[in-house]
């Protein structure tokens, strides 16, 4: 049976296999906890040990796909030779491109893998060795990450839906993993009910889109279907908007954000970190691919759903930041802040859709490059505008700073048994390292200069302003709103910093961080502070990543 070019999905396959190993060995070991197999091969250490080669492999896959983009192929379309970058496609028999293993997908895979590795280290600190069902916990996290990496590459509606659903199912279970905690159960149930409803709406939209564009599931076939008058029909509108509802739920974009605060607060903190970074990165990758590959083939401002996206972007930023201000629980505050962060990322998406690819470039993605004439080394694929570059840089920065913040919150939460912001008072005296690290992460989330968050925001807002010059005033407005929101957000981020440094500690004992927690916080600190030092190469790298996606 011909399945396809397995090598292109090898990172996800590796992770599924590793998850099975963890599950089987872990369940056997759990029969005699603390001795026998569990003593020699503790599941909680086995899982990150298997995850780390996956991260390295994902990094290698990014480099490999970048090398691939440096080649071009000449493709015969009709009677015309078209030169396109060579993008590796996972094609099943019959020429259906299920996945596009371009550098963009590979980079989001890397973000998901690295994020999960960090989440696993946080889990080591958060749960003790006697954690019930630890084999199931780590294997579910690994399955969810495999799903996120597949979603980042998926270019077929069925593949997109199934990988998102796999990610969601694992997340529902993980959210209610602490069965002794009522809030955790509430989080899992709420997430499940809202998630099922939104995913049903999304699936309904996909089926309408499938019907209105001529009965094909591939994104490029849908793109071709939408070049006909079908694009302007009501059914296409309903299909696209409903599909966006499904993706918007995963992102916690504003009208679909209602689940986020309760789930973020109730779920175990490492899982909250996972949901806010890995799950959102997957949703964002799917959204960008759906918008740029399938929907926006024409000047997007002609379509009402573009304006819906613009309004949702502004709404997410304002809602997230304004509601975050009065929060007394730090996990809830970070939940609202991540709603706002998605708003900033959406500015990048909204301006990236103006760099819509031409129809000819999409054709070879569909039919497995059947008419390749020549494969040559490309002179240069270098993507100049900043929009997508900013998106890629910001998601990497967001991974480091948000995971770092959640790592500190998880570490302090397990030690003080409290997530209340008031209990962060005087943290500077109790744990100088964690307090200083949390300060850096929060400053970076606010986008203050010497941090990674600043680089990302600078590129995203700059990209929006670049495009605004070409008759798109709404992008300039969004950039200005983004800057205003960064200032609003600085208020509640810096409030935590003020408490940590200037409020009295009320004579509490100092906190001792474990090795795993210190390692995680150090990794995230290096990422958050190092990104600006390497800003030039990073931007070059990111524009190379994006070039294979849009050209």
């Amino acid at each position: 049976m011909f399945i396809g070019n397995i090598k292109l999905i090898a990172p996800a396959l590796y992770l599924c296999a590793a998850a099975l190993v963890v599950l089987i060995l872990g369940v056997i070991a759990a029969r005699k906890p603390g001795k026998g197999l569990d003593y020699q091969l503790p599941t909680q250490y086995l899982a990150p040990a298997l995850m780390f080669p996956g991260v390295v492999y994902a990094l290698w896959a990014v480099l490999e796909s970048l090398i691939e983009v440096c080649y071009t192929v000449d493709v015969l379309i009709g009677y015309e030779l078209v030169r396109v970058p060579a993008v590796a496609l996972f094609v099943t028999r019959g020429g259906h491109a299920q996945l596009t293993a371009d550098p963009f997908g590979a980079l989001f895979t890397l973000v998901a893998f690295a994020g999960t590795f960090i989440v696993m280290l946080v889990s080591l600190d958060y749960f003790d060795a006697a954690q019930p069902h630890k084999a199931e916990y780590y294997s579910l996290v690994m399955f969810a990450t495999a799903a996120a990496s597949l979603a980042a590459c998926a270019s077929d509606l069925i593949a997109i839906y199934l990988s998102i659903e796999l990610l969601s199912l694992a997340s529902y279970v993980l959210a209610c993993f602490v069965k002794t905690d009522r809030r955790s159960g509430e989080a899992g149930l709420k997430y499940f009910l809202y998630g099922a409803a939104c995913s049903a709406v999304g699936l309904y939209g996909m089926s309408i889109l499938f019907g209105v564009t001529g009965g094909h599931t591939s994104l490029s076939a849908i793109a071709r279907g939408l070049t006909t008058p079908a694009a302007y029909s009501g059914a296409a509108w309903v299909g696209i908007v409903f599909t966006l509802v499904g993706f918007g739920f995963k992102l916690a974009l504003v009208p679909f954000q209602f689940w986020a605060p309760d789930v973020y607060q109730g779920a175990p903190t490492p899982i909250t970190a996972f949901l806010s970074v890995v799950s959102k990165a997957a949703g964002l990758a799917v959204l960008v691919r759906f918008l740029t590959a399938a929907v926006f083939l024409f000047p997007p401002q002609n379509f009402s759903w573009y304006w819906i996206l613009v309004v949702l972007t502004a709404g997410s930023m304002f809602f997230g930041n304004l509601v975050a201000i009065p929060q007394r629980n730090i996990k809830r505050m970070l939940a609202y802040s991540s709603i706002a962060q998605i708003g900033y990322l959406m500015i990048g998406v909204v301006s990236a859709v103006h760099a819509f690819p031409s129809l000819e470039r999409l054709v070879p993605r569909l039919w497995n490059l059947p008419n390749v004439i020549v494969r040559t080394r490309a002179a240069s694929w270098y993507y100049e505008p900043w929009d997508m570059v900013g998106l890629v840089v910001y998601i990497v920065a967001y991974m480091f700073m948000n995971l770092g913040a959640f790592a500190v919150v998880a570490g302090i939460g397990t030690r003080t048994r409290s997530d209340a912001i008031d209990d962060y008072a005087g943290l500077m005296q109790r744990s100088p390292f964690l307090a200083a690290a949390l300060t850096v992460f929060l400053i970076s989330l606010a986008g203050v200069p010497p941090t990674a968050g600043f680089v990302g925001k600078f590129l995203i807002f700059g990209g929006a302003i670049q495009h605004a010059g070409q008759n798109h005033p709404e992008l300039a407005v969004l950039a200005v709103l983004g800057i205003i929101n960064s200032i609003i957000s600085a208020y509640y981020y810096l409030n935590v910093v003020r408490l940590m440094f200037f409020a009295p500690a009320e004579d509490r004992p100092s906190l001792r961080a474990s090795l795993a927690l210190n390692a995680v916080v150090a990794i995230c600190l290096v990422g958050t502070l190092g990104l600006i030092a390497a800003a030039g190469p990073v931007v070059d790298f990111a524009s190379l990543v994006v070039s294979g996606f849009l050209d």
């Binding site: 049976m1 396809g4 069902h133 069925i158 796999l166 899992g188 009965g215 059914a235």
Partner: protein, 179 residues
């Protein structure tokens, strides 16, 4: 057969009967105070949908609908009702807290979808390179599942595995000293 001057075919009669069964029992699912009866009417609704599939020449889909939805899903719902004692007690009623608002929202949604879908252009096979594939039987489904869609087909098995593991984790009673 002509009624009131209109020519009516057997197909149309079958459609009206099946649609009536589907809609009527769907309404009863919502309106029945007893949740057990509501579940049974849900089974009837799903059977009506299966009948509509037969009318649309999709016999395989109809068989799948009967096996999965009528057979498995409805049975699971009834099982779940049996297992939760509180729901089986006499006098437990389905609660519809705000019927006016609920019906208004459903009605607005229906009118909106009806208007957009009815006024739309449905493109047929603009992308297919060859002649349109009219084989919708079991062979076509099998070919589609194991050739072009083999990747989602395999992915679905992982989804099922994760669902199983998750169900075990949630359902298992944790006793102290036992993993």
């Amino acid at each position: 057969m002509a009624i009131l001057g209109f020519e009516i075919t057997g197909y149309q009669i079958a459609f009206v009967v099946l649609a009536g069964i589907t809609l009527g029992s769907a309404a009863l699912v919502v309106l029945m105070p007893n949740i057990m009866r509501a579940a049974l009417f849900l089974g009837l609704t799903l059977l009506g949908v299966a009948g509509l599939y037969v009318l649309m020449n999709a016999a395989f889909l109809a068989a799948v609908q009967v096996m999965i939805y009528v057979g498995a899903v409805t049975t699971m719902i009834i099982l779940a009702i049996f297992l939760s004692h509180r729901l089986m007690q006499v006098g437990f009623a389905q609660a519809i807290h705000n019927p006016v608002f609920a019906f208004a929202a459903a009605g607005v949604m229906f009118i909106f979808l009806f208007i957009t879908v009815a006024n739309s252009l449905w493109v047929r096979d603009i992308c297919a390179p060859g002649p349109a594939n009219t084989d919708v039987g079991v062979h076509a489904v099998a070919n589609a599942l194991l050739q072009p869609y083999v990747f989602p087909f395999e992915l679905a098995s992982v989804v099922l595995l994760v669902a199983l593991v998750g169900a075990v984790v949630i359902a298992k009673e944790d006793r102290p000293g036992e993993p």
